[in-house]
Symmetry: C2
Subunit: 423 residues, 2 copies
């Protein structure tokens, strides 16, 4: 048997066991699932803590030896406090409402048949992610709570940390008499194993890649299993001529500087020509005061003394940093056209006091969240009331925006009759 046959057999075998485990999870009462999660949270705060930190230290040491950049190292590192945070997150997921078995729209049709839609788990969810080991616990906990089995393929750099974290789930499942295959970490980070996993469309129900654009592109290009992805967040704030400019400034600053390294941070500020002369200099000064480097188009440069020039590629850039592109546009239509061309269907905001323009922007802009008079930073599961999320989808199908517990479920139709037949 060749090596690639061996990898195929190994991954297929793990996925088969995960599928069987998913059938057990799908039938569980909420209390059983929550018991597993609370055991995990307890272990993360207690008996498993040292083992995880030691495993993580080895990962960090290896990463340092490999010359990993310090920002990446910081994402990889688990501290006792961070591990407590992971435990808290798992315990919080246990406290959320159970998403399975809820029926919506139950109604009795003319035939007398009573029909509705019941939430059900998806089955087996494959999560493919990069360095942050906390994703291991978050993803496993969210999938378990929603009755799904998980197959995790974490980053090479975090392999020991992920193994230690996954072991905690295995032990908690076992202690509750449940199949440990419900949370499966692939025992290799070999790309060949990933390729097999994302091809198993009869065993795996959904793949969620989390990471850089090249990882996501690889998954989309090679998957037969449905993929829900998020390429990048090129988010805009459009300041309309009819905006309250104080409000606009506060929203622009919050969208850019409150946490610049995340996908829902603003990358481009669009200013209506009608208020540019007043707003651009104010915004430029305030942003510069907050440490932001602004790259403007010709109109912005004219109004903002000392502003760098934006290049063509700036309009499509996701800086994830204290850098911002800024352009003057011709009113609402100019803003909508700019966003349609350069946006990434993530988060888009308008600031205006004009009712009709707010209504048009909300309706016409295609993004997973469209806001009027609020910061782009609100595109987050917690802020939108979902409790917890596994990522933000910019795929329209099934889930567009933050994916919480409900988005990890599907809906089947249910029908209650009393001997109904079709005429």
């Amino acid at each position: 048997m060749s090596e690639s046959d061996e990898i195929r057999r190994m991954v297929t075998d793990l996925a088969t066991k995960a599928k069987a485990a998913s059938r057990v999870l799908a039938r569980l009462d909420p209390a059983r699932k929550n018991a597993v999660l609370l055991r995990v949270a307890d272990a993360l705060r207690g008996e498993a803590k040292v083992g995880i930190l030691v495993a993580n230290e080895k990962d960090v040491a290896a990463a340092i030896a490999d010359g990993m950049a310090s920002a990446m190292l910081d994402r990889l590192r688990l501290t006792p406090q961070r591990l407590d945070g992971v435990a808290d997150a798992v315990a919080q997921i246990a406290r959320l409402d159970d998403p399975v078995g809820n029926v919506a729209g139950l109604r009795t049709l003319d035939s007398g048949l009573t029909v509705g839609r019941m939430t059900i788990p998806l089955g087996v969810i494959g999560i493919i992610y990069e360095s942050r080991p906390n994703v291991t616990a978050d993803a496993a906990a969210l999938c378990l709570k929603s009755g799904n089995a998980t197959i995790l393929r974490g980053g090479k750099e975090a392999f020991r940390s992920n193994q230690a974290l996954a072991r905690v789930f295995g032990e908690a499942l076992e202690a509750e008499g449940l199949p440990t295959a419900a949370v499966t970490l692939l025992p290799t980070t070999d790309r060949a194993a990933t390729t097999v996993l994302i091809g198993l469309d009869r065993l795996v129900d959904l793949i969620i890649p989390r990471g850089g654009e090249s990882l996501i592109r690889f998954v989309v290009d090679h998957a037969r299993v449905p993929v829900i992805q998020h390429y990048k967040g090129v988010c805009h704030v459009y300041v309309d001529e009819d905006a309250d400019l104080d409000q606009a400034l506060a929203i622009a600053l919050n969208s850019k500087v409150q946490r610049p390294g995340v996908c829902n941070a603003m990358e481009t500020l669009l200013v209506d020509r009608g208020c540019a002369a007043e707003f651009v200099p104010r915004a430029f000064a305030a942003l510069r005061g907050a440490g932001v480097t602004v790259r403007g188009d010709a109109a912005v440069q004219e109004l903002a003394d000392g502003c760098e020039a934006a290049k063509d590629e700036d309009w499509d850039a996701e800086y994830l940093d204290l850098i911002l592109s800024m352009a003057v546009v011709e009113g609402l239509d100019g803003a909508i056209a700019h966003i349609a061309r350069h946006g990434s269907q993530h988060t888009e905001a308008i600031v205006t006091t004009n009712y009709d323009k707010a209504r048009r922007f909300i309706r016409e802009v295609d993004a997973s969240l469209v806001l009027a008079n609020a910061s782009t930073r609100f595109n987050d599961g917690g802020e939108l009331g979902l409790g917890a999320e596994i990522g933000i989808s910019t795929t329209k199908l099934h889930a567009y925006g933050p994916m919480g517990l409900n988005e990890l479920c599907a809906e089947k139709w249910v029908a209650y009759g009393s001997g109904h037949t079709r005429a």
Copy 2:
């Protein structure tokens, strides 16, 4: 330029135009979309009728010359009455509620931000289908009503008919001043063109294949665009020991014989051992009386004099004909296990008067529709109150069961603030 480059360029060009048209459709008021549909319905009943029938006659003549089987020929043939039926279906779609721009779950969170989810079109939907030309009009009308552009790839046999039908949509769009690319029929049925189409994941938002298993398999294997598919309907009725046996008999007969050639017809009847001695002979006689050939397992054969023996492959067969497999199972658990192994996640029914068993069956069986005490034939957009459907999905993601207008939409988040920033 090679032939395959030419095909790639041609399909990409059509999809680019369809994408641009989809942006126009997404913003249309319901009245504009309905005006197009009513023009189409009028033309199908009037000026376009003869041209379509002549084109269809040519298709039928060519199919006869090619030796097409009579059942297939019947599906290909359009008569004046059938064309009136197509026109009625389009007019009925115009009368349905508009699915776009509806907001669900609008609520104000602790932050004061008011958030909800708004229905939006998916964008560009590719429909790949086989011989029936009425799919051309149905699919185009449903997509248009839901604000989506359509790219249609019909069967080779119906090419002239499909061209004539698509032209009616083009003329109606043009008369309303809308881009004709909103309904695009591929000008070739070459498989290379289909392969290009299903790979255009930046231009096409969803592919729906309708047809035989090999067509669907081809699409799933080669698509980068998300696919919602329906492989087959191996639907079961489980008659529980606690069933009202008269009701069970009526449901079994209706599920099998009311229209045996469709995907929601029953293919396997499962009988609880506790009522087998009484029910199997009655069901066998009634089914045989209705012209059904029954293939039974050993237990059924013992109870039903003259019953054929089922082979292993019968339990996975979609007969689409007056043939039925029948097995005796060990109660509810036996039925659920049989369905988990052989079902196709399409439609599953239990007949019982026992509350707990009905509840367990409804919860635990994984299918797009699960019924208690009703015929499998109810898995249909019309019967479930959707008005019209584009097919029945056995893909759990996004839509599971009949796909009506709402299932051709996605949901984006919308948020209304008054200067909200994140702390």
